[in-house]
Structure formats: C-alpha cells, structure tokens
Symmetry: C3
Subunit: 621 residues, 3 copies
C-alpha cells in the first residue's frame, strides 16, 4: 500500500474563478484527494424542494479534471434553517431539558423520524447524481457524529423512541422491572409509556436505566448512518467513510463501522491536548506545540480496528485551530511528524483540514494550508517535506501487532453511569494501558469486544471490561498468549447487576473481587517493588499465585497459567513495570523509550518520533 | 440502659426462602432490631388501591419469630410511578425552576396537598395492619427528610402554600411590607397573590423574603411528618422515630422531633467526610479511612437533644459506600470504633445499613454486613468484636454534660441567606466551637434555642445566633455558669432587621458591634497571644473588660461577670486557647488531646478513641 | 473648578421627623449635594395611576432649604410589582432562557416597548413636577445600567426587536447572509423572521451574528436612556447624569453619554477588587483594604471622556459593602484617599453612598456615613479631613494629558465573542496598558474610538482594536506624536471578517499578521531584553524595523516613523519597558513608581498616593 494525501475544500466559500487555480496548486503540493460538500445543503437546496446542482457539478469537474479524487460528503450535519419549519421538533435537547437551537451545526436529534427521512432524501439525490461520477471516488456520511455532545439527546422524540426500543428489548414491563431491579426504590413500571429519560431525577437514576438509554442512544446513530449507507450502496460502488472525532465514546464506533468500508478520524493533536486530555497542566504546557505523544497513535490503532484494517485521517490539523481553550502554533515540523505517525499506523490517506483559511464565520481563526490572503501557510512546507520523504519509502504493508488491547464502548457508558469514584474513566484506563505499552516500545492492535480470535498475538490486555461477551470468552479460552485482565473486569452482568459469583468471573481462575474502593487523587498505595495503585483498588480473595502486592499486603497481580488479573489501577511507574513483567512471560521483546520518544513498527520500517523536539527518523529493520 | 444493635433489611429484595436463614444469622451475630418496609410501596400497593400485604405479614412473622424486634418504615420517600398519574404536579422543583423527575427517590414536594393525603392514607393502612403487631416494636416515618436537597422546593404547589403561610403570619400585605422593608427597592406588594418564591431574581432577593421562605419550607416538613405521626398514634403505642441525615440544616430537626419519641440518624463517617465536610484535602486524605473524629460525636449529641434524650443510629456505615465522590474502605476496626462512639454518646440502638449488599440498582456498590454472594463482609467481624466487648460493660447511664452548645436551625437559614462573606457558614461555626471543646477533652450537650434553663452546666456557648429568643434570654439571665456568646450573636430582629441598639443586644452588657468585615481565606488577623481571627471579624464599641485583642488593637474577647462576648471567628489555635480561658473561669477541668485522639465520658466510663490508628480504650473512672 | 461633595439619601426609608436633622448634619459635614428618588417608584405611584407626590415635595423642600442641591433620580430601575400585571412579558431572560423574576431590581428588558412607555410616562411626571424646582439642580436617569448583567436579554421581546434592528441594518436576508458568511455551515436565512437570538446553539454561533446582537443590545440601552433624556429636556434645563458602574462593557457608554451633560460612576474600590478584578489572590489579599491602585483612576479617566470633560463620582464607597464575595473594612484614611484620587482626575462632585446604613432589606450590611443607630460611622472622619484639606487648595483646572489611550466598547464585544484563548479579555488588555503608563508616572486621557484628532498629545496607545474606524484613521494620519497599535489591532472588518490584506491593515506600514496563537496562563515567551509575552502572540511578516524580538526570534515591536506595532501581549515587566521605549521616542518624561505608589497631575498640583499605606501628599509643581 502507498499512502496518499488529501485536503478538505469548500468550493461554495470561494469565487468559482479561483477553483481551477486551487485544484492545480493542490496537485502541485502533492495531494491526491479532496473532500467536498459536507456542509453545503443550503447551497444545494436553498428552499425546500428547490435544487441548485450546477455549481457542485462544476466543482466536481474542475477538481476531477485537475487529477484529484473527490470524497463527496452528505450534508446532513447542517440542515438548513427551513428544515426547522418543516420539523420544529427535530432539535436535540440537552441534559437540562433545553432545546439546542439552530445557528451552528449538528442541530438535530438522531431519534427524529422526520429528520431521518430528510437525511435519506438528500442522500438519495446525491447518490443518484454522483453515484457513477468517475471523479467521485468515495463518500463521507454526515460529519463527526458526536461532536459537541450531540449523541445523547433528552428530546420528546428521543423519549418516544426509547420507549419503543425498550419494548422491543424487554417485551413486558415485568421483564424490564426484573432486569433493572426496579423493586429497589419502588421504581416499578406497569407500562412502557411510564418510562422517562433518566435526566433530572432527584438523585442518581437506576444504572440499568441509564445504561439502556446509552445503548439506545448509540443504536440511534447506527440506524441514522445505516439509512444513508443503504441509499448510497444502491447508487454507488465507491467506498463509504465516516470521519469520527477523537475521544468520543458516546456511541459504538465499531457498530457504525460495520456499515462502512473505511473508517477515518479527524486528528487535531493540539486542540485535543487542550480540550480533552486528562493530563495535568505541566504536561499540557510541555507538549502544547506537539500534542500528546500517544493520543494520535491510540486513535490510529482504534480506527484501523473500526475500519477492519482500512482507515484514513480525514482531517489533519495543519496549524493553530480556533476551538480549544488555548490555541498555540505547532512546533516547526510537527505537521510532518503527525503525517508520518499516521502513515506508520497504516493510514491510506491523510487529508488536511482545510485548504484555505476562511476569513468569515465560526472557524475564521482556524489555519489552513493556505492563509486567507491566499499565501502559503507554514504547514504547507511540512507537507512538501513529507511528499519528498515518502518518495524514498517502498510500499507499506502492516503486520499484525504482537499486542492486542480490547476497547469496548459499552464499558465506557457503564463506567460513566457508575464511576464509583470521581476520577474513574474507562477511556483513561484503557489509554493508560496503551501508553504503558507504547513506552515499552510495543506496537499495538486495538480489538473490538466482538473479537473471537486473538490470532498470533503474544499479549492481550482487557482492562475495565463491563461484562464478558461470549465472543471474548471464546477468544480467551483458545488463546495461548498472555491475557491481562482487570482492573474492574467482568464486573457486571449485561443487565448491570453484580454477577452471582462476583467478578472477575473467569472460568477456572480462583479469584474473587470481594470489594472495591476508590481513592482521592492525592492517594497512592505503594507496591512492594515500586510504583503504586491510584484511583481504584480491589480487595481480592484468591488461591492463585500472587506476584505483586501493595505494601499493605493486598494482592495486586494474580496469575494462573497465561491468565493474569490486575486488581487496581497502576500509576505510570507501576504500569510500565507490571506490563513489562507480563510481556516478559510472553517472550515479547520490549524497547523502553524515554520522555517524548516513541517507536512504531510498520512493515519493514520503524518510525522513531521524538515529541520533545519534533524530530523523526525512519529506519529499515 | 443497655445498648442494642440492629440492621436494615429489605425482604422484598430477596427470595422468601432466604428470610429465615437471614433472620437466624442476624440473631447469631448479636442483632436485636431489624428495620424494614421504608421503600416498599410499589410492592405493597402495586396498582392504586390494589394491595399485597401477605408478603409483608410473612416477613414480619419470620423476623419476629427469630427473636428480632421490627422497626416498620412508612414508604413515603418512594411513591410508586402510578402516583404521578394521580398527581402530576406533586414533583418538587429545583432552584432553577426545573421539575425533579421520577426515577430515583424523594420525588415529591412537601407542599403538595394531594401527596400529603396519599402519605396519610398509606400510613393509616400500615398502622391499622401492624399497629398492634407484637413483633413491630417501633415506627420510622418516611426516610431521611432532606436528603438530596429535597426540602426547599420552587414548585407551583410550594408557591401557593407559601402565600397562605405568609397570609397567616402577616394578615395584611402592609404588615408584610413593613416587616420586610419592601420600600427599599419599590418591592411593595398590595396583595399576597403577588408574592413569588425568591428564586431567579435579578440580583439577591430581600433576605426577609428568603428567610420566611426557609421557615415556611421547614414548617412544611414538620406538617408532613406530623400528619403521619398523628395517624400512627391512633393505631400504635410503639415509639415513633425518624432517621435524620448528617449536616442537613434545611429544616428544623427540633421541630420535627417534637412529634417523635426517639430521634435517629444515619451515620456514614467516610461518605460524609468526602461529600459534606469543610475540611481541606490534607485532612480528608489523612482521615479517609476513619472519618472526621468529631463529626459523628457532634451529631450524636445533636440527636440526643432532638430526641429529648432518646436516640439511635438507624443506619451505620459498615464498609465502603457508593455515593460519595470517593469511596475508600474503612480502617480495620473502624466499624467497631464508630459503634462505641455512638454508645458512649448514649445511643440506645446502633443499626447497620444494610444486611446484604444488593447486586442491583442504585446502591449495588454499597457494602453490607454480608456480601452480595452471601459471604460475610469485613464489617461483620467488627460487630462481633463489639458484642463481645459490650458484654464486659455494666449499664450505661449518661449524666448531663458540663458544657452546653446551642444549635439553632433558623440561624443556619439566616446566614445561608446573608453570609456577607463567601465562607461564612453557621454549621461550620458551631462545629468549630464543638471541635475546640472536644479537643479540650470536654463532653458536650447540644441545646435547642428553646432551652429555658441551662441547669447545672458550667459553660454554655452560643455562637452565631440569628436572633435572641425570649427562652434563651431567660436561660441566660438565671444561669450562673459562664456564657460565651458570639461571634455574630443576636445580630438581627426576627424580621431580619438590624436591632435598633445594634448587636449583640445583651441587657446590662455595654458592648456594641459597630460594624463587621469578612475576610478572604488567606487572611488571618493575629491575636496578641497567639492564633488568630479568620473569615469574620467585628468592630466593637465597649466599656466592659477586654481580655483579648488582635494585634491591630481591636477587642476580640469581652467579659462582664459570667457573660463573654467573642467578636470574631477564631482559628483552631485561638479557639482552643480562648475556650480554655473561659473554661478555666468556669472551674472546668480540661483534658487536652492530640491529633486524632478524643475522649468522651459516659456514665462511669471514659471512651478513649484514636482516629489516627482506629484503636479504642474504655476506662472506668 | 472647585470640587464639591454629596451623598445618596432615601427619605422614604426614614421617618419624616428625621429629615431636617439629617439635612442639617449633611451640611455640617461639608456636603453640597444630595441624590434622592431613584428607587422610590412604589412610594410615588403605589397603585397604577394613583400618585403620592407630597412626601417627595416635602423631602425636596427640607433638603433644599437646608442648603443642599438635589439630584433627582428617575425610578425606572425598580418598577413596582403592579407593573408586571400590566406587562407580564417585560422581564429580561438570561442566556439559559430563564425569565429573571421580580423581587430585587433591574427586572426589565430594554427591548420591551410597553415598559419603555412606562419609563417615559413616569419621567414625564417627574419632569413636569420638578423640572423648574429651584432645589432640584440635576437629574439622574435610571440607575446603574448594566448592573447584575441586565443588558443582554434573551427574551421574546428582545428577539422581536433584534429582527427589526437587523432588517433596518441589512434590508435583505441575502445581504445579511453575505455579511455574516452564513454559507459556512448552511446557516443561510431567507427571511428575517427566521433569525433567533444566538444563545443555546449546539456549538458557538456565528461571531457576526453574536456581534450584531451585542451591538443591538447596546443600542437598546441608548434608546431607553435617550427617551428619558428627551422628556427631561422638555421640562428642565438642569444637567442630565447617569451613574455608570465599574467594568461594565455590555453597552457603549460613549453612546449613552452623548445624550447626557455629565457622566458619573459608582466607585466601590474594595467591592470591585473582590468581585471583578483579574488580579491574583496575592494581589487581592495585599490590597483588600485599599482597592486596586489603578482601577479607580482608570474609570475616572474613562468617565471624564464619556462626560466630554464633566464627570462625578455619584456613589463613593464609605466603608465595608455587602455584595462582594468578601467585604473587608477599608484602611483608615482610604475614604479620604479615594476622594482625593477622584478630585485629582477632575471630579466635579464626589457623592458618598449612603447617608445612613439601612437596617433592613438587601443592603443592610452596606456601610453609610452614619451607622444604622445614627452614630457617625468611621468613614465620616475621612470626609471631614478631606473638607479641611481641600480648603488649602486653590481652583483646579485640568490640562490635557500627554498620553491618550483609546477605549472601544465594540472591541470588548468582539473579543468576548471570539476570545480565541480563554484568557483574552479586551478590558484586561487596555487596563494592562493603562497600568503600565501609570507605573511610569504618566497622566492619561482615555479617548473614544470616534476621536478625530489626538491634539497636542505626545503618545497615543490603541490596543486590541476590533476594526479601524474612518475617524481613527484620520486622527492617526494627521498626528505627529507616537502611536502604539496592537496587539490584535484592526484585525477585522466591521462585519467580523478577516480583512483581505490581513491585519493590522495600516496604510504605508509594511506589516502583516500572518497568524496568531493563544497561550495557557503558565506560558511566557521571553523577550531578548527581559520580560515576556503571555496569553496572545502574533506571527509577523514585515519589512519595517524590528526593535524587539522574542528569544525564539519573532518580531514583537515594529516601528516606522511614528507608528509602532506591538505583536503580542506583554507581561508587566515587558509592558513597562516597551512603553518606556516608545515614551522616550516621544520625548515624554516618565516618573517610574514602586509598589502601590502612584502619581497624578492635576492643574498646578501632583497627587502622590500610596496604596500600600493609604497616605497621600499633594505637591504644588
Ligand atoms: Zn472538523
Ligand atoms: Zn440511607
Ligand atoms: Zn449602587
């Protein structure tokens, strides 16, 4: 495979006279792909049923004739203002019960039937018109599902749809009462119509109620996306893509991914470090011009899994953005480093957002490859360097990584619902394990919880799993590599009850979590051999071998044959040491790195990237 | 008196086949009491007017026949879902004007007449059925009034009821206008129907308006509880109890207590340290497994006063809970220490919450005496130890404590309404005095503001009193022990005006507070002899003796005969020193303690508890 | 000019029998002016259309006959309760869509036509009755526009009015779409009725939309105030005044000022330090009894500009207030220092708030010159000292200051709308420049953005200007003194687009801002010669002379002839050094001061005030 570059472009923002020059300059810079259309609904259909396709036809032609491959986006993330006159109740509601008004984007509720119909209608028209167009070489559905917390909606439309979903799942109110344990506080229902959304309750709602609402909310996204995919497949054989966002866990990306051919994500290393990282202020200060050294890699690995091997960066940060709390400029060379990091994780395409900085509206302070006065912006030089460096690399064929790490969206919803301690966060837990692996120099594959076979891998980690799936049970049982489970593993039934046997509930592994505790941020429980446990700790009853204890004498790492159980959340030092111990048993060679240094194997190469300095080295193994 | 133990049990959560074993094991553990029923409305009355009593009859029999005494709870804290169809407007509203929805508990407004009627109806049915039952030996009304901030409701029902309450109090709008000083910003009313609840005003509402609303809100709880008590007394001669929560000041516990025979409270030392303590992070870290050394003692003393001498711990934390920001495990032995602390303060019964950890619904991560897999949890051993230690103690008859401390709910509402400085909090002020006394090794009685006689005590402290009651004036005037008043004492008229003579307004005591100031947390005004004044300081005009000044020359402690006035809020060091000074004048022996050590006299014994290590010693005097 | 003193008085709060004594004591203290009436609507018109004027007639007489000059306030900041029955929809709505209820003050929306009619009606009646009264010597319109965030209202009335305002401005929806760049996210409108207020959008609204709403909101205040002024001018030749508040930027004070004869403001140095200062906790601790040494001076200079040379302090803090998070007492002598600071900046009148502390309602803990028991409060002595010190001073005639500083309300709205970094605040930026100038010992005139001539000044600073006005362009082009522009200067077109040429867009000055970055609070980019850039930094393309660079080699200060451009936000050290450098080029003598020392030239005098000690010295030049 040979990676390619692309860019996001908005012909509707610029005079038609500039399109040809823009297209030529894209090609000259070394770009192959151009994404268009995803916010252009009001330009295509300025009044309901009145269409203006000609400008878009011409844009596709001009771009295609210049040699660019077009990704056409469905414009459903930005319904025009007239849509609200047709469907006044299509708006999502926030957790406080307030409608989320028109005036920006993503102003729709996934549960609104009328709007889903409109989404199908416009997709159909696009499919019909461009399904066979030889310049249109891929499709993007909608844009950034979940951005601006738009998955979980408390609208009347959502309430209605939730009741149907529950009825479908449980058939009878009695079955639901039993599954949820509604006897607890006299919360029993006699009819599905009595069930409300779980916001604004006096104290916390039943976790089974909340988790079902979160499952439902995710399913609504899948259903919305699937409707577009089904339409597009009727008209086009080009691959379907969605562009996911970083650290959005409100819907199941694997489930949406089942309807796609390629997964992609929008990678904004500096914006994400500022606005969605758990790291402390010192870390954010240190990496403000580089981004977190592991955040991009993690998502690259995640979306490779979501895309069943095929994935892109659909939007790559090219300079300062406008939307984070603080928006510094990247270190010189970082745009190049980020591009290489993507390629080393198997990206087929890295597409920059955006071609030219828009001088108007919400994102006027967001850098492009060109400035708003049409001069080259600083990021363009990094792209030129990448193109020249890439020409010295032969084809890239990724191998299976020696390490697997299971990521499970349902677990994220479960522990959102019941963190038990303020600082417990599923993403953070999995990400801490990921960082530990990467600091050991290991390349990682992220695996969905539906994995039934871990293959030739040597080590699989499964932290924080809400509930055992039959698939995972099967994968574990036939695996001969090391499996590291825990903490908080298999700790519930699918109905959000504690299993009768207590967690972790691993067949043949004599180990029970008799109770757990959560800890304030200042507390670290030291381990006998260094490092410590923070945030979450389990008290264990076991007759298996204990290889690691806290100084207060409690088991932390338990092993039997190739099964390991971790009974707490290790801090950085302990994480690296414990993972190292398990890796050793796997006969897995580690390559510990320091500071901001990282390594990633890709095909016959190793990428050495240094996030402290912004430098990279590509070495042939 | 011989203290007994109990437990909270939910037969409706478990198969009927397990009840007998559970009951036998309770007795074997040494428990005498079992509380049931308080969340079981939907099980008793699954549909409006359709009742299922048999299961409850059987549960009472099984428990009673095993030798347990039953506390029967009225289930009014958890109205079933169908109740909302009968009374859609019964829901409380929060300060932002949002209804507080069904789906957890306490989803009712105390001002809703219809729901109060329902509460009387179900109580009547329970009274009728179990009033004479020989196994039912006490009643609990509702559950934890005030938990989840459910006292102060801004619902339409509350607005209507508030207008009636005001009309009753003031008779005419003119009288109200005058009392409130509504001339101030043209806030005058011509009719009671014009008066709204004091939320969402442009800037702060009139403090007289707010305080009356807070008085009204408290009265609604009293009225709600009284209605249940009146019904129960018609059917039963068993004692009536309510289980109060820690640090809830939104209603007058003394007023509710007038209708009860016994006060009780729910003591969660670790949960309360995390979720409602003013202490800093270092303190919370240090005592995360022990709880605040004075918090339980304070409430024990408070509820002894509320119960006019008779009080229980109705729910005692037995291990980690699920509802605080962080939920650590107690130190080994702490459940035992907490039980002894209660007994040393005169508890008749200490009842653990709960028998077995529920594997479902909201509190599935809340420990019980048994685990959800029915093995013994760690706390059970502490109970066994307590039972064995108690057998070596003869009967306990508490004496009157040498020190009295007045606690006044109305003052809490007043200073909530007008803190004047962000950090001024009435509970915190009284609690700081309490802690100072306890660090001097003194045993304390808490006194209601209706006290007319301080008895044989040697010292009475009255910090932060909103307004002088005639009762207290009488008690002070005939008392020969030392009285320490202030800071912020007697500083308002009942209508929330500054008294004409200025505070503290003590007859025969030539001392005026000419102005006050509030201070940022970093500011401490040093005293000449050590320690300092923080948060609140008064400027005094006096001709009485000044025994203590700030370094900047302002009077802090003023005395005439047995009357002392404290013109600021001392820090810990100053508090102990100043209290010690006054105690000395009282000829009161003090026993200063260090760190987490505490002492409490009870009958012929002294309990020495060490919250640093979790150890106790009981010494015969 | 000879400055005078005054006081705010509420005859309606006190028995009529005390008025005469109060008036006599005011005169004895040295006061000339008394402001009354501004909250008395319910006393004047207790029922709609029913008037009680006699008490006010008598109050005016008693005060006037004692020799006091009366300022009569229109009572429109406190509409009586019955007004809401006439106009239930007159209430403002907050950004969350909640109505802001009756029960305090300022409970009206500036966009409500009905209430503006009522405001005109009551003003007319007051004008008619007192327009010729010889004791009434000035008028105050309403009270503290903008206090309690009451300018920006999201009410239905505001939405209607905003649509009209937009229609008036743009004529067609197409013109608006183009100006706002609504093509960006398919936000195009086909009709003005489709446009909503820009709150509660899913993510940020279009900045052009928000800025127009802010302009509109300011215009509504101007219109409301103008309606009162037009009425009063029909009946009275006395000067019209409004009392502005400190650091309120939600409406254009210059625009409102155009309809007034005198500007005034309400100066609460300690309250403002606590509740609206950007300074850190150490600073607030240090100056808790003095106030920020520059905050009062800045506003004095600002309102001198707003009043076109004529200005007062209408309310001067005389002791502790009640409304800040913490309310300490001033240092002895501070009330005197504050009065002198005002006089040294040209105040015609300094009027204390209030005569006597009210013992009731919201402000009962707000000090007056007299205590609520009618004894003198501490502040009164400072007033006596001032009166005696003033008698040794001859007439004060302010000269034009050598330095001008442009303050532009529209820029404040623009950077509120698009801060680009959390800590970017226009007021803070201008104020940092002001403080730098004052720490160089320079006296400053604040200039509106409509200034067309900088006169004889030697240096003019224009930080953070949203967009170049033709007036300022003219003023700069004909000015021979030094002009220091930037950072973030001229960076947008009036429609909130980036200008085609890029900022700063200064004719003949070869300098472009190619991009910007915002920085976390911990980041300081060091300058080669000391100090650094924080919060905001620009990357510059220039062929002009660069006199200052960051250590990382980027231009920070660029100069050509008398035009300077500053490409970042200097910290305190860099600010003083860079301003000093530019001042030197201006041949301007500087007088650097240390710590809390400040100097201000006024006529033939220099006031040396020391905010560390509270001492002042007045020296004849
Ligand atoms: Zn994007
Ligand atoms: Zn409880
Ligand atoms: Zn004021």
């Amino acid at each position: 495979m040979r990676p390619e570059l692309g860019v996001c472009y908005y012909p509707e923002h610029w005079p038609e006279t500039s399109w040809e020059t823009d297209a030529r300059e894209m090609r000259e810079l070394g770009l192959d792909w151009v994404r268009i259309g995803e916010f252009a609904w009001s330009k295509i259909e300025p009044r309901p049923g009145h269409f203006e396709w000609e400008w878009l036809d011409r844009a596709v032609s001009v771009l295609g004739e210049a040699g660019l491959k077009v990704v056409m986006g469905t414009p459903t993330a930005t319904p025009p203002r007239w849509m609200l006159d047709k469907h006044p109740d299509m708006i999502a509601f926030d957790v406080n019960g307030r409608p989320r008004k028109f005036g920006s984007r993503r102003h729709y509720c996934f549960s609104h039937d009328g709007y889903r119909g409109e989404s199908v209608r416009i997709t159909e028209l696009l499919g019909e018109r461009y399904g066979d167009n030889s310049y249109v070489r891929a499709w993007q559905t909608d844009n950034e599902y979940g951005c601006h917390e738009t998955i979980v909606s408390y609208s009347p439309a959502a309430a209605l749809a939730f009741r149907s979903w529950l009825k479908e799942k449980y058939q009878t109110a009695d079955a639901l009462n039993k599954a949820w344990g509604n006897i607890f506080w006299s919360m029993e229902y006699s009819d599905f119509t009595q069930i409300d959304l779980p916001n604004l309750t006096v104290t916390e709602a039943n976790p089974s109620h909340v988790l079902d609402f979160r499952r439902f909310s995710s399913d609504q996204v899948v259903r919305f996306n699937r409707a577009q995919c089904e339409v597009l497949r009727r008209f086009s054989e080009k691959p379907l893509i969605h562009n996911y966002m970083g650290r959005i866990t409100e819907f199941d990306h694997f489930d949406v991914g089942k309807d796609l051919d390629i997964a992609s994500w929008d990678s904004y290393p500096l914006g994400f470090l500022e606005d969605r990282s758990d790291q402390d202020d010192d870390f954010k200060h240190k990496y403000m011009r580089q981004g977190d050294p592991d955040f991009q890699a993690f998502h690259h690995d995640l979306y490779r899994a979501v895309g069943k091997g095929r994935w892109w960066v659909m939007e790559q940060q090219p300079g300062p953005v406008n939307w984070a709390p603080f928006n510094p400029a990247p270190l010189p060379g970082m745009v190049n480093l980020w591009t290489w990091e993507a390629v080393a994780h198997g990206a087929e395409v890295v597409s920059y957002f955006r071609w030219r900085q828009a001088p108007f509206a919400q994102e006027q302070m967001h850098a492009g490859l060109k400035r708003s006065d049409n001069e080259w912006a600083d990021g363009a030089q990094d792209v030129r360097n990448f193109v020249s460096e890439l020409s010295e690399i032969s084809d890239i064929n990724l191998q299976t990584a020696p390490v697997g790490l299971v990521f499970d969206y349902e677990s994220a919803w479960a522990w959102d619902t019941q963190p038990q301690g303020l600082t417990f966060d599923y993403f953070k837990l999995v990400y801490d394990v990921y960082r530990g692996l990467r600091r050991l120099g290991l390349s990682v594959d992220i695996l969905p919880p539906s994995t039934t076979d871990f293959g030739e891998r040597r080590l699989v980690c499964i932290p924080g799993l809400f509930t055992w799936s039959p698939e995972l049970k099967k994968a574990v049982s036939k695996f001969s590599g090391q499996v590291l489970m825990g903490p908080r593993f298999g700790s519930k039934t699918p109905d959000f009850n504690i299993p009768e046997t207590l967690p972790p509930n691993v067949p043949g592994f004599a180990c029970k979590v008799k109770s757990v505790e959560t800890l304030r941020p200042s507390v670290v429980l030291p381990l006998k051999d260094g490092g410590g446990i923070a945030s979450w700790r389990e008290f264990i009853e076991t007759s298996e071998e204990v290889t690691e204890k806290t100084e207060d004498g409690n088991a932390v790492l338990i092993v039997k044959a190739n099964i390991w159980y971790l009974a707490g959340w290790p801090d950085d030092e302990a994480m690296i040491r414990l993972l190292g111990e398990v890796a050793k048993k796997s006969d897995l060679e580690t390559f510990p790195v320091e500071g901001g240094q990282r390594r990633r194997e890709f095909g016959p190469y190793v990428l050495h990237s240094d996030y402290d300095t912004g430098e990279i080295q590509i070495i042939k193994k």
